[in-house]
Amino acid sequence: MKILVCISNVPDTTTSIQIGPDGKSADLSQVKWIINPWDELALTRAVELREKHGDVFESLTVISVGEKEADGNLRKALAVGADRAIRVDTAATGNFQVAHQIAELVKKEGFDLVLTGIESSDFNGSATGFILGYLSGMPVASNVSSLTVEQGKITLVQETDSGRETVSMTPPLLAVVQKGIAIEPKIPAMRGIMLARNKPLDVVQAVEYNSADQITAMELPPPKEACKMIDEDNIGELVQLLQNESKVI
């Protein structure tokens, strides 16, 4: 089986977001770009599966939509254990656009197991994976917190509004994965980094796709007032404030 893990680049979690001069975008000039945390968990699981079931999974490919700056994290993914990286050479501008670009390759190369993180920490859309599944014509496993393989069948746990479902699916399939799919993200070791240098990073041309939607403004949330400190001996005052001042109990 051929695995494809989709990874996107997001600003490091501790980045302080400032609005740019155009009033509709974040100023990302000083940002450190990391692999989206959920995608990193997806990649970790994929590497674990490849290591455990080498006879079942013949290859692990990672793909990103982005310009040259995205190469760094693709190399990191190769260092962690992917065999091959693909970069679709165009800036990532939205969930439909990214899904369209990746769908082209999924249909062309025929992957058996496609993994995507459930959301990205920049736009929190949580849609790209589902859109990609639809465009690729694959069945989609949703909100997956566990994925195991046994004799050609894939067992997954889907988290839904009414509880947790254990389901069985036969590849090809796309799994939109979330917390639980892997615990600690894999960190590239020295050997992995060395090997990554000789692994292929293919840059492919993007397909034509334009979204009619746009972000027309961006703002910071209203600043919070300073925290009102209450003495630990005076919890009665806190309860009184919660009841009468902020009226939440």
């Binding site: 977001i17 736009f123 949580s126 069945p139 949703s142 389901v167 403004a217 703002e219 925290c227």
Partner: protein, 323 residues
């Protein structure tokens, strides 16, 4: 504009998030004199279905034979898209819960619709259609303009007040539809029903514990406080990783995102990833024996103290006002 709200019953009735979405749909439809159709997936109690008239629905489509167990996003999504086409819906509203996220993406792709997920308020304007949502895990708010003919929105939990606002008329239409049986692609092996996950995201008050609680054996008092307040319990990531509390209680960037009226955090330092999950709360109370805990910067009220002393006092004071 033709508004379609996608709802699911839970144990025959309708949870707060469903009513909140209907209220949102009614208010949105009201902006240009149109009406709300609701599409109910799953088996609803007939009496509970009738009550939806109070929340502004004009037409309620009941589809008891369509099941979301298992949640087959592409199969169910395509079916919903078909219904939306038949209804000529132009704005389709889902919940920003597990099911809503999956289905809305597939429906939007199927209808070539514009999609905005995690909205928390009515659109700024409907022509052009502009709506706000949180981005960068809550560090900023973006206004998105949706320009395709059909718009799909998912509504954040606890963000829109439930309002009783009946429409001029109300009718129920029973749909006999069922999902295609051959080659569904997903086979259900077992189900662990725990309405728990939605309970936490819908809870108006949440009492949460972090590593500062020092061990699972100390949760008794926290649970007691939660019980008195009618609150749900939650925890930080290290606590669920250690196995002190179930993963379903983890709130944070890679756990659940919640926005209760009141969030009480005991022994939680306030790492950025945790804040991403709770920053939407109306009021945050931080209790920590470390005066440097970052959570104090995001909190509305803070107590420097140990949970072992503070919790019993908190319980006592709440008992007093609850009488």
């Amino acid at each position: 504009m033709s508004v379609l709200v996608i709802i699911e019953p839970f144990e025959g009735g309708f949870r707060k998030q469903m009513l909140s979405m209907l209220s949102y749909g009614k208010a949105l439809a009201g902006l240009n004199g149109s009406s709300v159709t609701a599409l109910c997936i799953g088996e609803a109690d007939q009496q509970e279905a009738q009550k939806l008239a109070d929340y502004g629905v004009t037409k309620l489509l009941l589809a008891p034979r369509i099941t979301t167990e298992p949640l087959n996003a592409t199969l169910i999504g395509k079916w919903i898209a078909e219904k939306a086409r038949a209804e000529q819906s132009t704005v389709i509203i889902f919940s920003q819960g597990f099911n809503g996220r999956a289905l809305s993406g597939v429906v939007a792709a199927s209808l070539n619709a514009s999609l905005a997920t995690g909205v928390f308020a009515l659109p700024q304007n409907t022509d052009p259609f502009e709506v706000k949502k949180n981005v960068f895990s809550g560090k900023a708010i973006a206004t998105i303009q949706l320009n395709n003919d059909i718009k799909v929105l998912t509504l954040q939990a606890n963000s829109f007040e439930i309002q009783q606002d009946p429409a001029d008329s109300f009718k129920i239409v029973q749909l006999e539809d069922s999902l295609p049986a051959d080659n569904p692609g997903i086979e259900l092996i077992s189900k662990d029903k725990q309405g728990g996950s939605a309970r936490l995201t819908e809870a108006e008050i949440v009492v949460s514990g972090g590593r500062g609680m020092r061990g699972p054996e100390n949760w008794g008092a926290l649970e007691e406080l939660a019980g008195l307040l009618g609150a749900a319990t939650a925890c930080s990531r290290p606590v669920s990783d250690e196995g002190w509390r179930p993963h379903s209680e983890h709130v944070g960037q890679t756990g659940k995102i919640i926005a209760p009226r009141l969030y009480i955090a005991l022994g939680i330092s306030g790492a950025i990833q945790h804040l991403a999950g709770v920053r939407g709360s109306k009021v945050i109370v931080a209790v920590n024996k470390d005066p440097e805990a970052t959570l104090f910067q995001a909190a509305d009220y803070g107590v420097i103290g140990d949970h072992k002393e503070v919790l019993p006092r908190f319980i006592e004071e709440v008992k007093k006002i609850k009488g």
